[in-house]
Symmetry: C2
Subunit: 134 residues, 2 copies
Amino acid sequence: MIKGLNHIAIAVPDLALAAKRYKDHLGAVVSAPMAQPEHGVNVVFVELDNAKIELLEPLGEDSPIAKFLERNPEGGIHHICLEVDNVDLASKKLSADGIRVLGGGEAKIGAHGKPVIFLHPKDFYSTLIELEQT
Amino acid sequence: MIKGLNHIAIAVPDLALAAKRYKDHLGAVVSAPMAQPEHGVNVVFVELDNAKIELLEPLGEDSPIAKFLERNPEGGIHHICLEVDNVDLASKKLSADGIRVLGGGEAKIGAHGKPVIFLHPKDFYSTLIELEQT
């Protein structure tokens, strides 16, 4: 079912500083910051040869990463995103397996404009896994 | 400097169960468990199209992930590994930049038989970054 690794998402308290740190010290190719108000984050893409790191900063009142940063004020890895052919089929199989699919198992349109689901981190060793349809 | 993402390492309390979980529920291609006594871990490789997830279980008394699992008994992402051309040059540049390179900045031979260094997680938003020479 899972195919490639799409990205690793890292929540940071200050996006501009984090982007500068990845660029200056690791020589990374980083995008300009992009606001994604419908997802409650500002994002910088760190372009690797085969995948991306997405640096995320909260945007707005209901940011999904605000609570994470309250618990982890210095930042941290928030989730990893793996690619699948069909998130609806994945969601049905996982739910039938007893894996908790967040949001009642319904796919939503993710930050890349594609359907995504998230799996409960307690079902995968404290790793929040996003499955994106590609 | 950084090129590709080599792997995401996830520490787990029970490697056989974790491998079965990735295989049965995510349809992942997983290797047989491999003991790496010189690195204090048993490893299962989850093969993705473009990278790997490495599931790690402690092996022996001085396992480098034992303390991590004491703090995170359900497991969690332990580190990410990025590829560079030359870890010695990377180590010198990072140290000159004021980034803390663990182990005094000296490269060691990592689990894949290649030179590696680790960067202090406090310098990268609580993400432990391994740089591997490829």
